[in-house]
Symmetry: C2
Subunit: 331 residues, 2 copies
């Protein structure tokens, strides 16, 4: 025989099922005496309300489903941590899932969450098309993080990419760099905006943007750096799509016998824990990671409470200067 049910608890405690239900839902209209008895019996029996049944009856799950682009990326786990805390404060649970960097994986994960009828959906930089995302968003209150799009009937939370790229290019050009390359992140997952912001910031200064299509991971940086260093007019600085990619860039440069920052300056994005490690000390663009998670939950909570107007928030990043960037070598 399997798990005990409410009826089992009621029978053993000598009360009605309705009373047990009230106790489980922390209703105040239960005598202290009976509440204690029911809880005692419940823990004795190892009873635990069946959430599937509860969800079915109430139509509410008190759960937010989060789909993270890449659980290996500290940026997303920090966002998730912020979200998890905020959700707990709001009496909600956060259910994590990841697409493991594959778009089909993301689709599956979101389908699962929608099937469970989570009260809300938190999409962190999905790799899916705008159309697909918009379709999913019709099924539950949704907030999307880190992807620009013509979002309607959902909320979004974005980094001010223009400002970020401006910070990067400003910093590097002030150090005398002119040949600056960008290893872009995965385009659907927010890399597009960053790439074009970089291109604009460069052109504005009359500089030619060098761009390599990549992804938001170590491998892309590693591969990208190789291609860039094979150019006969090597860039003197590399702006990686994010910190992970920057790490890949640094690894490859190291293997090529090039020093950072003496030979090549490298700059990342996100200011994840990795960037702060002394041995790495990566100059990067800081984003308020946990805050992003908190804010996302706040937006969802408002939605769930009934807000219907869309909100599209934009956060300003800032530069964190460490030791991976330096004045261009005067060759």
């Amino acid at each position: 025989m399997s798990q005990p049910t409410m009826d089992d608890v009621a029978a053993k405690a000598g009360v009605s099922r309705a009373l047990v239900s009230l106790v489980m839902r922390q209703s105040p209209r239960v005598s202290e005496h009976n509440r204690a008895k029911v809880l005692a019996v419940a823990s004795d029996l190892g009873y635990r309300p069946n959430t599937a049944a509860r969800n079915l009856a109430t139509g509410q799950t008190h759960t937010i489903g989060a789909m993270l682009n890449d659980i290996h990326n500290p940026f997303f786990t920090a966002v998730a941590e912020g979200a998890s805390k905020a959700a707990a404060d709001a009496g909600l649970h956060l259910l994590l899932s990841s697409g493991w960097q594959r778009s089909e994986g993301e689709t599956e994960a979101i389908e699962m969450l929608l099937g469970m009828r989570t009260d809300g959906l938190l999409l962190a930089s999905p790799r899916l098309s705008h159309v697909t995302i918009s379709e999913f968003a019709t099924q539950a209150p949704t907030v999307i993080i880190g992807v620009w799009g013509p979002w309607t009937d959902m909320d979004s939370l974005n980094n001010d990419e223009d400002h970020g790229a401006e910070l990067v290019v400003d910093h590097l050009t002030k150090l005398g760099h002119k040949r600056i390359a960008h290893v872009s992140g995965n385009l659907p997952a927010g890399g597009e905006q960053r790439r074009s912001a970089f291109a604009n910031a460069m052109m504005k200064r009359g500089l030619a943007p060098i761009i390599i299509d990549g992804d938001f991971n170590e491998k892309a940086g590693y591969d990208g750096a190789a291609s860039l260093m094979a150019l006969h007019d090597r860039p003197t600085a590399i702006f990686a799509g994010n910190d992970l990619s920057a790490i890949g860039v640094m690894s490859r440069l190291h293997e090529l016998g090039l020093r950072v920052p003496e030979d090549v300056s490298v700059i990342g994005y996100d200011d994840t824990n990795i960037a702060g490690i002394s041995a790495i000390s990566l100059t990067t663009i800081h984003q308020p990671r946990e805050e992003i998670g908190t804010l996302a939950i706040q937006l969802l909570v408002e939605r769930i409470a009934g807000r219907t107007e869309d909100r599209h928030e934009e956060l300003k990043p800032r530069l964190v200067k460490r030791s991976s960037t330096a004045p261009v070598a005067t060759a």
Copy 2:
């Protein structure tokens, strides 16, 4: 009005609810013609089976709940990735949750998973007491990773700590180190076994183990290194509880103006991605992370299928030599 139900689909497709149910469960006893029509209508309506209702009716969730000690630790995310793939292959979903390095957080997360009646429970190095874990394990097929205990009615998957410590101490002593310190990991979460294995390996060689209580994160390494370097008889090598902690150790040493490995050798554990970064190049003990996840799911699947004997697997780790360890300086 909310989400469409099976009846809505049935009505619109002009078939019975039973038929829609058959289609949704991919039954083969449905004509191609009707299957297509039902699927068309379903997607038209945006219909998606309600898993709560389905779970209730079948008593199965086809879901494994995973509780990760620390989602920021690449070791656990790699385990999760392996588990996720294996689960998908077995027709199961993996639901992630984390206790965010707090034991109450872990309790909550597990309670939630049990409430959802997941078919199995995957506990990755929980920080909870043996008693608490054993209680949870009575409620669902459970496999625990990385914690030694007197487990009964559950499976476990462990690293051969004696072998690992032996590798560490052997490597360091062969390099001439005698004053070797260990910044231990969080004890309930598996740090205890590693610590005592280290102590044994040292004593066996007539060496005094220097041990600092820590945790499996960067901060612990950072703090631990400070304490160790304040000793008047400084250790010449530090064995960190895991890679994260080793990073913390290296950061602090760097700040203290000490070079790795010239002044102090550092060795980590887990061989996470971080260890392989060229700029870090951490000597560490390798564990087959994804395989661990895969194996864990396999154990759970067997359990769910009815196996009742306990299985306790032990995996042998191996040393990966990089550049954070070197012969002791002849002062």
